[in-house]
């Protein structure tokens, strides 16, 4: 996955993400595609969650999945989640849950956050104050200039890292599937190309079209990419496009 929050020269925050899923889950040699990735794409839907006829938040979901991986709370905040692979991961978390009753499923935590948080700071608090069953990266944007961060979560509350946009270089913050303080695996480096494309675009290009271009650039776009979502917090705008990576294209 690749998530990015960028601020336009007028101070508007745009949040965009590629959702990549299905690595090592069956490679179709004939069509050069990942088996699960192809199954997921037709199930992608935009959801408008309403209460009393009014939008509470919007999200992009795989049909039947109740949690939130990408969402916007209009006028308040935007959120995306990237996978974090760690040895102290899901299985240990599930055993911990059975033995101690502690831990929250990632999708349910993000769903509760989207439904109840009334601000960027409230969402940040919710995402950093609950023990989880598996580690994750939360990319959270607010509605004010430079109000954006990447939250690196362990299963437990120790070791939580909050990386602010101001510390990431100023006008944007970008996360793939590696801790921001370490170099990505050299065979899976989408961070360097994405950063280069962001810098090529420059801040004046920060907007829906510019971010779509960055996320459509290979290898940020790859054979695992199911969709690109584009959000703008103030207007509550969310649009989602199915993504296909035509050959020649990297498998991940």
């Amino acid at each position: 996955c690749t998530s990015v929050i960028a601020e336009s020269p007028t101070g508007k925050l745009y949040h965009a993400r590629n959702l990549d899923f299905g690595l090592f889950m069956g490679w179709d040699i004939k069509n050069r595609t990942w088996y699960i990735t192809e199954k997921l794409r037709p199930a992608i839907v935009n959801l408008n969650w309403q209460r009393g006829g009014k939008t509470v938040f919007k999200s992009v979901n795989y049909a039947g999945y109740l949690g939130i991986l990408t969402g916007v709370s209009p006028g308040k905040f935007t959120l995306s989640m990237n996978e974090r692979f760690k040895l102290d991961g899901g299985y240990i978390g599930i055993i911990d849950l059975i033995l101690t009753g502690k831990g929250m499923w990632m999708g349910f935590l993000t769903r509760n956050t989207m439904e109840t948080a009334q601000s960027f700071s409230e969402a940040k608090k919710m995402l950093t104050s609950k023990q989880m069953i598996a580690p994750a990266y939360f990319i959270l944007g607010g509605n004010q200039s430079r109000e954006a961060c990447v939250i690196t979560r362990n299963r437990e509350l120790n070791g939580t890292d909050i990386w602010q946009m101001a510390d990431a270089g100023g006008w944007y913050i970008l996360e793939t599937n590696y801790d921001h303080w370490v170099a990505p695996l050299f065979i899976d480096d989408r961070r360097t190309p994405a950063n280069k494309c962001m810098r090529n675009m420059k801040q004046k290009g920060a907007g829906i079209a510019g971010l779509f271009d960055v996320l459509s650039s290979k290898p940020v776009l790859n054979k695992l990419t199911t969709y690109t979502a584009l959000m703008q917090v103030n207007s509550g705008h969310l649009e989602t496009w199915l993504q296909y990576c035509e050959d020649p294209c990297v498998p991940w």
């Binding site: 069956g26 049909a63 039947g64 459509s216």
Partner: protein, 120 residues
Amino acid sequence: SAQVPPYTETCVHGTYPPKPDRKVPEYIINLDLPPSQRWNQLAFDKRNEIRSIIGAFKGFLDDFGLLPKEVIYLLDLLGPVLVDTLPQPFRDEIRGISNATGIEIGEITLYNIFYELFTV
């Protein structure tokens, strides 16, 4: 057909907007409805897609020895008990999706906790 890593970027321009057939459909989830009814329309419309994904997940878990067929059988059998361990409203929402799609509760539960199984 693919470059040997490490990859070099090709920053593309003018790709937006893509063709309209790549836009995804939108549904309303009415939070005023009881949790068991919120997903009825979407789950019914997308029942084949959901079934297909779960089938692929189960195949993957079985292939890697992470969740053998016997455990899947047990999951189907104990699904109604397993879902009771989840908090509300997720418990009733899963029941609703299971009813609308005809897919076993245990398998819908598995689909919803797949992130935790996968991150290992």
